[in-house]
């Protein structure tokens, strides 16, 4: 566990030093929220959750790219993929919880007649999904720019497509619409259950993708054999 | 005299000359350089002299001590050791024999 924590700590320090990026990420969901607050309170909740998802997955993308240069060295210094991926995910989930808490409080005190517990669940799932989503993109795509564009497309699609469309379920943040409907419009539990299932699956699948992509990128090394000395 | 040739000759005997100068008493680097110049051996650069002194010290032919001047900085003084004196005697004899041979060889052309 010590190695996982060491990676998590380093990742947190890296992010803490990118102050401008952090500030933009912190304020972006607020902009999403305020954009619809005037006309449609419920919609503003859905938007703030998507905004959080976008901010956190972008942070994960940047964090993954920042780790690229040193990861081969860490792998040779006694770290396994479990430590490197696990540590970075841990850091991103921590940042995600810190970043979403003020937004939960905002909703808690600015909105009435919604299911707060369900909104907390949306945010928790958003945090869980965004970290592996951004890391997966950083592992698959060569540069930050391509990753940012993909994130833009995904979040844009998420806002525009009809959630009832089956294809919409392929998008990683489909659960926010589903649980959001349950929380805001007080629909039946079916929305909550479907959303929860989707969110958990999305988090698991994306974490698996990160792990596999990382393995592929680091390359198999069957030609290399280490013989321990002591 | 051709400066290059003199420098070349000097390279072979500089250590002996230094031993010779120290035979008349303790001295330090700069003073030795001046004495060599006054003796007509040309200007000896510090960069040439001090490595020679180090080699003599290393070989045990000179002993050294640091002595602080009242006005100037501390200087490293060199003094001939017993081994150095023996080496000087031996080398002087060798040198005389060698220059004798050289002189004889050079004179053959005059004949």
């Amino acid at each position: 566990m010590r190695r996982t924590y060491a990676v998590a700590e380093a990742a947190l320090r890296e992010m803490a030093r990118r102050r401008v990026v952090l500030a933009i990420l912190l304020l972006l969901p607020l902009a999403f929220y305020l954009s619809r607050r005037g006309d449609h309170l419920g919609q503003s909740i859905r938007f703030v959750c998507l905004g959080l998802g976008w901010a956190l997955s972008t942070a994960a993308l940047f964090s993954g790219s920042a780790g690229r240069a040193i990861e081969p060295r860490l792998r040779l210094s006694g770290y396994s993929g479990r430590h490197l991926v696990g540590g970075r995910l841990l850091a991103l989930w921590t940042i995600g919880l810190l970043l979403s808490t003020p937004y939960f409080l905002l909703v808690r005190f600015d909105q009435h007649d919604v299911r707060y517990g369900a909104i907390a669940l949306i945010m928790a799932l958003t945090v869980a999904v965004s970290a592996p989503f951004g890391l997966a993109l950083s592992a698959i795509l060569p540069r930050e720019l391509e990753g940012t564009l993909v994130l833009l497309v995904v979040v844009g699609l998420q806002m525009m497509v009809d959630p009832a469309d089956t294809a919409a379920r392929a998008l990683p943040y489909w659960f926010t619409r589903e649980i959001g409907t349950y929380a805001i419009d007080h629909t039946d539990r079916g929305y909550l259950d479907r959303g929860l299932l989707h969110g958990v699956l999305a988090a698991l699948v994306l974490t698996a993708v990160v792990t596999v992509a990382w393995r592929v990128r680091q390359g198999p090394r069957s030609h290399l054999e280490f013989v321990p000395l002591r | 005299m051709d400066a290059d040739r003199r420098a070349q000759w000097l390279r072979g005997v500089l250590d002996l000359c230094v031993l010779g100068l120290l035979d008349s008493g303790e001295s330090y680097g700069y003073e030795l350089a001046q004495a060599l110049g006054d003796a007509g051996l040309g200007q000896i650069r510090g960069g040439t002299l001090y490595p020679v002194l180090l080699r003599l010290q290393r070989a045990g032919l000179v002993t050294t001590r640091w002595h602080g001047g009242d006005t100037g900085p501390a200087r490293k003084y060199y003094r001939l050791s017993a081994a150095g004196r023996a080496a000087l005697t031996q080398a002087s004899a060798d040198w005389s024999a060698f220059t004798g041979s050289v002189r004889t060889t050079l004179r053959q052309e005059e004949r």
Binding site: S77, G78, V227 | R45, W66, A74, R75
Partner: protein, 274 residues
């Protein structure tokens, strides 16, 4: 150059020539006294610091370059028949290399001869088309560039890499700073790696490769951006590590060190033969 600067440079050069601290202090003090007595500029009386230091080192015997009596240990790195093509161009063709504990192997070759590829294959970062690599013990690798994290301080690098090697944070920091000092570098406490100069970042890179005293050390032209003094420091460190029993492979295009390494792997020839 002022005399003071010249004397400071001389001090550094003497250290690089492995002249001990006591003798260095004596030589510098004696030189300073001579300059004051004669009033001559240092360069005229003594030449450049480098020349004079070399003369001094020579007259006291200098470091012992003879390696005849040095014991050579068991095999630490064994490379057999490594072949690698990029598109259809062969880069490495059946390359073999065996390095024992306490040996330095130099990898030379023209640009594009596959020197870095060879090292990456040895480190397991690139997979060859054919061939095997066996590493006995732990491996340290210093890439040509990269290998550091832009936003972390040097001490944080030491802690992170050290944690992987099983070193506690204070131990890693102490070890890292000691290796850095040998390269004449005091890591700043709160400067991110991206704000270090190219040469300094390479020092960090080199220190990280060495952290935890690996048994096999792969160095891919790690001295890029080093000034001449640091370059000499680097080679002194290499000899020291070798004498401590590390097996070292170093990619170099600077041939003046080749007479002091134990073996030379010339990849240019391998490519020409292909």
């Amino acid at each position: 150059m002022t005399d003071d600067a010249w004397l400071a440079a001389l001090t550094g050069e003497l250290r690089r020539h492995q002249v001990g601290p006591d003798l260095t202090a004596h030589v510098v003090a004696e030189t300073a006294a001579h300059l004051r007595d004669s009033g001559e500029p240092a360069v005229r009386a003594f030449g450049t610091p480098r020349e004079y230091a070399a003369a001094v080192a020579d007259s006291v015997g200098g470091p012992d370059p003879s390696r005849a009596a040095r014991p050579v240990g068991p095999v630490r790195l064994e490379v057999r028949g490594v072949t690698k093509r990029y598109r259809r161009r062969p880069v490495l063709t059946g390359v073999d290399l065996t390095v024992r504990a306490g040996q330095v192997a130099a990898v030379v070759g023209a640009n594009g001869a596959g020197k870095s590829t060879f090292l990456r294959v040895c480190a397991g970062l690139t997979r060859p088309d054919r061939g095997t690599v066996r590493v006995y013990g732990r491996l340290g690798y210093c890439p040509q560039d990269g290998g550091t994290s832009e936003f972390l301080f040097p001490d944080e690098h030491f802690a992170l890499v050290g944690a992987g090697r099983g070193l506690s944070r204070p131990d890693a920091r102490r070890e890292g700073r000691a290796y850095a000092a040998a390269l004449d570098w005091t890591p700043p406490r709160s400067t991110q790696a991206r704000h270090l100069s190219g040469g300094t970042r390479q020092k960090l890179n080199l220190v990280l490769a060495r952290l935890g005293a690996p048994d096999v050390l792969l160095l891919d032209e790690p001295y890029q951006g080093f000034d001449r003094g640091t370059y000499l420091d680097f080679w002194h460190e290499v000899w020291r590590w070798r004498d401590a029993g590390t097996a070292i492979v170093v990619v170099t295009h600077l041939l003046n060190q080749l007479d002091r390494v134990d073996q030379v792997l010339d990849l240019t020839r391998a490519e020409a033969a292909a």
